[in-house]
Symmetry: C2
Subunit: 369 residues, 2 copies
């Protein structure tokens, strides 16, 4: 597979950490929320192995925030998501599918409740800010909506806990999963959540003070040698093995939350007022006709650049493959696919054509591990 | 400047033409509306020279359409833009700044009126679909909004007229600037507009029938030798010289249309009902404090990856540079910058630091040529 350069410009925003990761050996980028997101530091297989055993520092500034504040902010945030937020607490993160009028997905952010009237929507790759602005204007809500200058550094991997303790003290280890609080670094307070886009454990620092964030970024590498700290980025292999779904890759605005297995975040039997509620009730009562599933593919190389049709053994279209990679753990290619009924159950078999060759595959439940 | 690879995935969608342009020698991509947009076929200087004299075929499928149809479609389209569309005609394209509740820009699409109740918004790089969906839901408009499968091929350059005549016959030359009509290619009707993202003249084919579009793409190269046809893409040099502004590069959601020189598309003295109208009236009466201007910079190389502060001769911040390139025509670097009052007039001088070196610059009006 030939490599193509990325043409940089202001429209594809750099992050405060871009010059650092370029010195540290980033080799590939993707674009996420109109910003550079590192995609590889050399081999993603080696990086995956390292992440599972050690600790990595990630420039994930591309996880942008949409800040919604003001008297109607709670109403607007609830209107956008099918997850009931009526009992949500300040200091907690909530994984929330955002839904449009048709019951289809708009994004799957983590929502942070900063105050009763102040929220951050930490978004996947789509312009939630314009969805929020449209809804607010249409409903004449009294809110303020903007993208604050917040650039996230993620600290991921099993040794992230000890590294973070060394910087912020013991209390950081008491942070519960998806909880957040404020921690001091050389006199500057940083919002830190126990979260991140891997299943290896870790934290995300929501940096508002860029200068302090840059200093902190460097400090992690200065003191992290004993934990074998390395620069990294969201890892394709690790995230597929862990079944972490990606908006735009595994699902998009043509899919509904039941098809994506988000059932537990769809709270239809509550008083919560949100878009697409009646549509989702109808979809639930009728049942979905396809579902995101895992697949094991009998090959050891793939470079997926778009959807790929999956055929049943008797030549019917079973669904389409949306993400895939070689997994050193399974010693074969694994992927995430939208599988149609009646094929969406574990151990169904099918086949796939890649560059003229046919490979056998087997459907499985998510997550893989 | 080191090159970095682009990491492809389904989220960064390929176009129907991607495999073709990769065989034809594309070397760099950017990402635009979550899709691959070619950014270079080797030297952009040579490509610029070729474009000015010949004809190029561009894969600009990344110019996505937002289709809005239904009884309230006209009302919704008007609500999004400060340009008065009350006298708009079927078969015409309209360049329209989209505006939010604060009077700031959301996008600057070309809007095609297909019927009284059917519109295509041919967008720059932001998710207008979610802005439209939010507004429609909030206002309970009776509309249908979706992204149709339309992939544009642009035919650009002075010889595009003769090439198009050879394919579609004489009548295509009668199409007025920003007019569109339907033309037959081997029994398939294609919507073709006299438009495109260069000032060298040309057409855009809004391909709905992908198979026919692929055939047409190949046909242009088969029969275009006499016009020296080549593959190409929107050219950084040509578009800056021509003063074609780019959303995300030259302006974004932090800027208003008066700052960007869109005054003639801001129709405040009409009955048109649109977002931000009162804000824009206030901005107009107070006058803007900064403006997009051209700059000539006394150097022959730049690789701009973000904004760069411009200083006045006595050390004040004059504004910031947002796009720039070496122009073989001017034999120096030219750029587009947001310049603050009292500096935003032609022939003001200032300076710029690039990689530790200071370069003199002079402000000028747009467009350059």
């Amino acid at each position: 597979m030939k490599n193509y350069s990325i043409a940089k410009s202001r429209r594809i925003r750099s992050t405060p950490y871009t010059s650092r990761i370029e010195k540290q050996g980033v080799t590939a980028y993707t674009v996420y929320n109109h910003m550079l997101l590192p995609a590889a530091f050399g081999s993603i297989e080696e990086s995956c192995e390292h992440l599972k055993k050690n600790v990595q520092i990630w420039d994930v500034a591309a996880e942008r925030q949409v800040q919604i504040s003001g008297p109607d902010s709670g109403k607007l945030v609830q209107l956008m998501t099918c997850r009931d937020l009526s009992k949500s607490k300040i200091g907690r993160c909530y994984y929330c599918p955002l839904i449009d009028d048709n019951g289809n997905l708009v994004n799957d952010p983590v929502i942070l409740k900063l105050a009763e009237d102040k929220w951050w929507i930490s978004i996947a790759d789509s312009d939630v800010i314009f969805f929020a602005k449209g809804l607010a204007a249409g409903n004449q809500f009294n809110v303020k909506i903007f993208e604050p200058e917040v650039d996230i550094i993620a600290i991921q991997g099993p040794k992230s806990f000890d590294l973070m303790e060394k910087v912020f003290g013991k209390t950081i280890k008491e942070l519960k999963f998806f909880g957040f609080d404020y921690f001091d670094y050389k006199g500057v307070e940083h919002l830190i959540a126990r979260s991140g886009w891997s299943k290896q454990g870790g934290f995300e620092v929501y940096v508002e003070n860029t200068e302090s964030g840059l200093d902190l970024y460097d400090y992690f590498f200065q003191i992290g040698q004993e934990f074998n700290v390395k620069p990294g980025c969201p890892n394709l292999i690790e995230r597929i093995e862990s079944g972490l779904l990606s908006y735009g890759n595994d699902f998009d605005n043509n899919d509904n939350p039941f098809e994506c297995g988000f059932d537990k975040y769809v709270n239809l039997d509550t008083d919560a007022v949100f878009l697409g509620k009646e549509k989702l009730k109808k979809i639930e009562s009728e049942g979905v006709k396809r579902k995101l599933m895992g697949v094991h593919i009998e090959t050891n190389y793939i470079s997926l650049t778009g959807s790929l049709d999956i055929m049943s053994d008797d030549g019917k279209i079973m669904g389409n493959l949306r993400s895939a990679c070689y997994s050193p753990y399974f010693k074969k290619v694994i992927g995430i696919a939208m599988i149609n009924e009646p094929f969406c159950k574990a151990s169904e078999t099918g086949k796939l054509e890649i560059e003229g060759k046919i490979f056998a595959l087997k459907v499985c439940d998510l997550p893989f591990i």
